[in-house]
């Protein structure tokens, strides 16, 4: 087990350079072109002297390198700084306002994509070469090619406008928000046994997470299918059969083996999931990190944008760490 610990520690350490690299990238990218948060916020109603004063307060008058070093230094101390516009709130609280929404959306999208992908992929693999297999593969490529906003809007037109049975935006109906514990509405309403809030949040989640889930399921379909086919042709599967092991059991062994690469994909997919969430949030008016980021980019709110990027990076890194640990727990070859 010692090696697993070392493994996790190594992985965790690698998160730091990753985040710093991204941060550096974003820091300088954001400052290339004209436009600054202060001016965009107050427009031009404010006298130039005041504008200058505000800029100075925000530290925007210092040399870029100094700003950069300051910023990195603060981030290392867990200080994300304050937003530069509007309320000048701490970036971390701004993010925490938005992040749970994204998390909820991505978790559901993730669950849907995995369930869909695993079902379609295994069906295709077990019926290899059949029409069903062919249609699952078409599904996989189609799903992969879907353009999230478009697909989302088509769903909105069908379920929200034409049949008029599902809401097309927002997280929950007005006034039904459950007591905040985790800020994940579904989880909170379960904890507080608030079933009205639960059903309201679930129906609001349905279309966005379905959109995200379907689009991302294509990759899983493909991977599950290919892996399963690969595993099913492995010697040990034949060996199982040669010993008279029942089919159901063999399928279980095969699934377990086929799942190892799928888990790796889950880590990578989470990044794609977050990217997809930006578009999904825009399409479904979901008050999450994606819409937050877009808004703040527009106003050149450096601190918020950087904070969001760091948060994204940390989150992705955390997920891949978790994935690696799960991987190690499942696959004994890594553990020993």
């Amino acid at each position: 087990m010692a090696s697993l610990k070392a493994y996790i520690a190594t992985r965790a350490l690698l998160v730091i350079p990753t985040v710093i690299i991204l941060l550096t990238l974003v820091f300088f990218i954001l400052r290339i072109l004209p436009g600054d948060p202060i001016a965009s916020m107050v427009g031009q109603k404010v006298p130039p002297e005041v504008l200058e004063k505000l800029r100075e307060e925000a530290g925007l008058n210092k040399p870029l390198i100094v700003q950069y070093v300051d910023y990195i230094f603060n981030i290392i101390h867990g200080d994300f700084g304050r937003s530069m516009i509007w309320g000048k709130r701490p970036v971390l609280s701004e993010i925490m306002d938005r992040f749970p929404a994204t998390l909820e959306l991505t978790i559901f999208g993730f669950i849907i994509s995995v369930i869909l992908g695993v079902i379609t992929g295994s069906v295709a693999a077990f019926r290899r070469g059949s029409k069903l297999d062919a249609s699952m593969r078409v599904y996989s490529i189609l799903a992969y090619s879907l353009f999230i906003p478009w697909f989302g809007m088509v769903l909105q037109m069908i379920f929200g406008v034409y049949f008029d049975i599902l809401p097309i935006g927002g997280r929950i109906s007005p006034g039904m928000e459950p007591e905040r514990i985790t800020s994940l509405y579904v989880l909170d309403s379960i904890i507080t046994l608030n079933f009205k809030a639960l059903s309201a949040s679930l129906i609001h989640l349905f279309l966005p997470s379905l959109t995200l889930g379907i689009v991302l399921s294509g990759a899983y379909t493909r991977l599950v299918r290919n892996n399963l086919i690969d595993v099913l042709s492995q010697d040990y599967i034949t060996a199982y059969r040669s010993r008279g092991v029942k089919n159901m059991k063999i399928v279980r062994h095969a699934m377990k083996n086929a799942f190892i690469p799928v888990i790796t994909l889950m880590g990578l997919q989470f990044a794609i999931l977050l990217a997809g969430a930006v578009l999904t949030e825009t399409t479904f008016s979901w008050p999450g990190m994606g819409t937050f980021l877009l808004e703040r980019i527009q106003y050149r709110d450096y601190n918020s944008v950087q904070g969001a990027i760091v948060f994204y990076a940390l989150f992705v890194a955390l997920i891949s760490l978790v994935v690696d640990v799960i991987y190690a727990l499942i696959d004994p070859r890594i553990r020993y």
């Binding site: 070469g129 492995q234 010697d235 040990y236 034949t238 060996a239 199982y240 059969r241 040669s242 010993r243 008279g244 092991v245 029942k246 059991k249 062994h253 377990k256 083996n257 190892i260 499942i330 696959d331 004994p332 070859r333 020993y336």
Partner: protein
């Protein structure tokens, strides 16, 4: 005495885009109890397909197109899936070529053995695990290896595990498909000794190998396969000392041997394409003694001094 296994006119084909590949072509073979038979042939001659056909492990695009496989009085090809499942492992065991890939990497050795035992016998997990330990010890591994994962064992050790798995339910027939090809000679010798011991315990063994000398040394009887046919079979000693079929002879002469002081001879040509085999005898393009008839008609199957040969040289 009734034979344990009787294969009659077995044909197994693979369907590919290029056409039908006749991997096993009208093969008949019988096996007595406690007999150790070596099936020898080069890659692609159909020897593994034959073994897989006996176990009914042929997967699409492969297909057993005709024939009978009578094992202990029942035709395996007529059993339903569940009945066949009960035969596998319980009555016929099988050892595979590559010990590195034939064990499920995610399950402990013990669990794999226990699962196999429990598939066929209604015994508790504890008892089965105890049995697993004994089995491992019987193939020369410490009993505590039940707690190991396959990747923690060396190739030789894994092949022992495979044997332990194959004999877990004490089957009467053990098919070993190139069990030592991936192993070094010293390990090979040890594995072979374990197999050899099995015959004295009352099992029959089919050893499939490309190593002529190994088969000659270990088995009672040798079956030579070429291009889906059995071209010659008979008692090991006699076959080696006096090969009847030109292929057998050529093969014998082309194999270097540690103790025989001779130069090796080259066999001309390449093995045939089984989708478009040559007409007549499939060996004729490489045969030094090919006659006109060989190029036209399939050779007859003949008994010469109690040995089987498929060749026009001994023709009617």
């Amino acid at each position: 005495m009734m034979s344990l296994l009787e294969i009659r006119n077995l044909s197994t084909y693979y369907h590919s885009r290029r056409g039908v590949l006749r991997a096993v072509d009208m093969v008949s073979l019988s096996l007595d109890e406690r007999e150790f038979v070596g099936i020898v042939g080069e890659s692609g001659c159909g020897k593994s397909t034959l073994a897989f056909s006996i176990m009914r492990l042929i997967q699409p695009p492969g297909e057993i197109v005709e024939g009978e496989i009578i094992f202990s009085g029942k035709n395996l090809l007529e059993l339903n899936d569940e009945e066949m499942r009960r035969v596998r492992g319980k009555e016929i065991g099988m050892v595979f070529q590559d010990p590195m890939t034939s064990l499920d990497p995610l399950e402990k050795i013990g669990d794999q053995i226990v699962e196999t035992i429990q598939m066929h016998e209604d015994i508790g997990k504890k008892e089965a695990l105890e049995k697993a330990r004994e089995l491992l010890e019987s193939v020369g591994l410490p009993g505590n290896r039940v707690n190991y994962y396959p990747h923690q064992l060396s190739g030789g050790q894994r092949q022992r595990v495979m044997i332990a798995l194959a004999i877990a339910l004490n089957p009467t027939l053990l098919i070993a498909d190139e069990p030592t090809t991936a192993l070094d000679v010293i390990v090979q010798e040890k594995i072979m000794n374990i197999l050899k011991k099995m015959t004295s315990e009352g099992r029959s063994i089919i050893l499939i190998t490309h190593d002529f000398s190994l088969a000659a040394e270990k088995s009672d009887r040798i079956v030579i396969m070429y291009a889906g046919w059995i071209v010659e079979m008979g008692d090991s000693k006699k076959l080696v000392n006096d090969p009847l079929h030109p292929y057998t002879k050529g093969l014998l002469e082309s194999v270097p041997d540690l103790w025989l002081e001779r130069r090796i001879k080259t066999m001309p040509g390449l093995p045939p394409d089984l989708v478009n085999p040559p007409p007549g005898c499939k060996f004729h393009p490489r045969c030094p003694k090919a006659m006109d008839v060989c190029r036209k008609e399939e050779p007859p199957e003949v008994q010469v001094n109690g040995r089987f040969v498929k060749c026009w040289l001994y023709g009617v």
